[in-house]
Symmetry: C2
Subunit: 424 residues, 2 copies
Amino acid sequence: MERSTVSNISIPAGAGSLSAGAGVTVVPGGVTAPAGFRTAGVHCGIKARAGALDLALIVADAPASAAGAFTISKAAAAPVLVSKAHLASTYGKARAIVVNSGCANACTGDAGHKVAELMTAETARAVGCEAEEVLVASTGVIGVSLDPRTVTSGIIAAHDALSRSANADAARAIMTTDPFPKEHAIRVETAAGTYHVGGMCKGSGMIEPMLATMLGFVTTDAVVAPAMLQRALLDTCETTFNAITVDGECSTNDTVFALASGASGVVIDEAGYDAFVEALRAVCRELAMGIVRGGEGATKLITVQVTGARTYDDARRAARAIANSLLVKTAIHGGDPNWGRLVAVAGRCGAAFELSGARVTIGDIVLFEHGRPFDERASQAAAYLQGKDIRVAVDLGTDGREDATMWTCDLSADYVKINAEYRT
Amino acid sequence: MERSTVSNISIPAGAGSLSAGAGVTVVPGGVTAPAGFRTAGVHCGIKARAGALDLALIVADAPASAAGAFTISKAAAAPVLVSKAHLASTYGKARAIVVNSGCANACTGDAGHKVAELMTAETARAVGCEAEEVLVASTGVIGVSLDPRTVTSGIIAAHDALSRSANADAARAIMTTDPFPKEHAIRVETAAGTYHVGGMCKGSGMIEPMLATMLGFVTTDAVVAPAMLQRALLDTCETTFNAITVDGECSTNDTVFALASGASGVVIDEAGYDAFVEALRAVCRELAMGIVRGGEGATKLITVQVTGARTYDDARRAARAIANSLLVKTAIHGGDPNWGRLVAVAGRCGAAFELSGARVTIGDIVLFEHGRPFDERASQAAAYLQGKDIRVAVDLGTDGREDATMWTCDLSADYVKINAEYRT
């Protein structure tokens, strides 16, 4: 598996800490909480509904270090291909990111590729930089063409609207079926000085009326070399955006970008790397949780913890299988403490599994251990499942000690309804 | 991947023919259509509802060749373990199969293993054979104990009821959430003489209120050596029971048994092997289609055909990914000719895929080819999707020519409702 993926990678052992360490304070401002960035979100007409924001810009005051993580799809959309090429040709530098919602610009052939290039060129013209210094992302319906004049007018309008305080508009302008915008930012105080990490993302399932996407944008004013920023972004994705699933689908357009302006003057070197990754992770985990909480039809956030695995791959495989199991997701939706389904998925997923040593826990309630059920605790577990924040844990019972965590949501009839409706 | 599995194996190239060849006639009688077998289905009280059939016997007049295919689950239930051991110790001979529904006897520890052994011993005592000559299968709730006295009384009652005409009772006695019983039988006329193949199965998803199972039972009066019967059964499962999916789940109890009484006197040798497998396949495919048509909440049967794959594994992987995609299944449920979802799944599933050469067909309507959509055909495809029997095809666009077929059903809100309800 490539490392430069957004999906199908899970969380490494021990990375489940929810604290980003001392000296971390949540702040407002989203992607403009770090110094050196302006943003905007405008309506230019890609979405039919009047006033619906559908184009966002993030612009750095000066060339910033840039990193990207992309879909593993072999049907990757034009903006993914263009952004990959630009990151390669600049060796990880960018001035701006242009994003549209309402159209994925995927499966659109040469014409689509030209529009993605045009979006970077028009943004570059407005900002005053090279087209290669602009990254692009799109989300929305597959196979529909993006009108060049519409996006060009949007880019000009968004550039005119750039500000340090338009982060909420930008977060709305990248939404598709998302029930709410997702932003998060922190201030990190270190011995070397204070810097910020901010971000926004969209995603609600991997899907939109036709198909959609997970997009994430993270900024920092720390001084981070491009190669280190790329490494930090991939390390972070593994335990955040790659450790969530709504429906097991990976889009043609999945993209996460990170930009480092350096405006704080705080240099991230190898000594400060772990703390920086922890800060990135704090922001990305909050954003990723937002995607799951806002998953199509979701009513509960489910944390799946797997322990007692012989290898990390086994732990990841079991956690992913449980998080994607329709039987587990429907049981939790219905408030049914159905430990048998967890055993069945763990047993069939291909990971090493020893029934006699296995343990199933819902909340803190052990329902299966030492080869036997504890059904007398079922009503207690059923009461726990009435909550909105659910934790299920399976120990695979092997002689190994590897573990992994995934986050998912329950599966409701509303998910089916949302995804069965004809595109309009 | 082990060959002796019931799930997670798909159909080989070219095996999609629906005809079992000349000289094949569909006949009534299910598992007793072949000579040399009697069967029964009774109510003994495992299911609470008065009169609900919950125990079945299939008894051969004399020791029969026997073969089995079992779940790959590492949490395999007691009856699976006992049946595997019996088949091994007899080198593929059996007189009887005892089956109960309403309780899976899975995750029930040593006590559960003893009850599974008891079921074979009590059946052997009634029939007059060794316990090792009896195979056992169970389906129903996991983690619930099976009462030894209840099943013993059921076995005695079922033995008293054995007949050549109780096949419909037996087919009902193995059901759990199945909306209808599933039986099929054929007469095969060959130059060497006439023989029969019959069968019954259950399954509705892989699931029941707590969890359930796919069980299949196939009989023939051909003379088939145990080793050949085993090979024929596995070859058949690959393209029938293993080529269907309702929800991607594999149970702790999945089992398919085949018994050959030899009562027709028609000997299956290597020359007749292919025709025999084709006959087995005709029966098992019909049974497997029944499972999909009766899948929980299902309203449509979906045939997924993948062509243009570089390897058979790629073809199988893509077909399985499409057949299990919530986005594809909900789109078809909603009558949405959403070819973008098919491209997206084919692109992300890991199989070699070339977008420029890819083709998506719904029914006979090509919606994507040569890198561009044909949206003007969408309304025609939407009309086609109003049917109950849906075919979708994806050519992966590579330079390879491998193909695979899977069968699945759509995903409806009723599926969620069925599986979210608390066990009662």
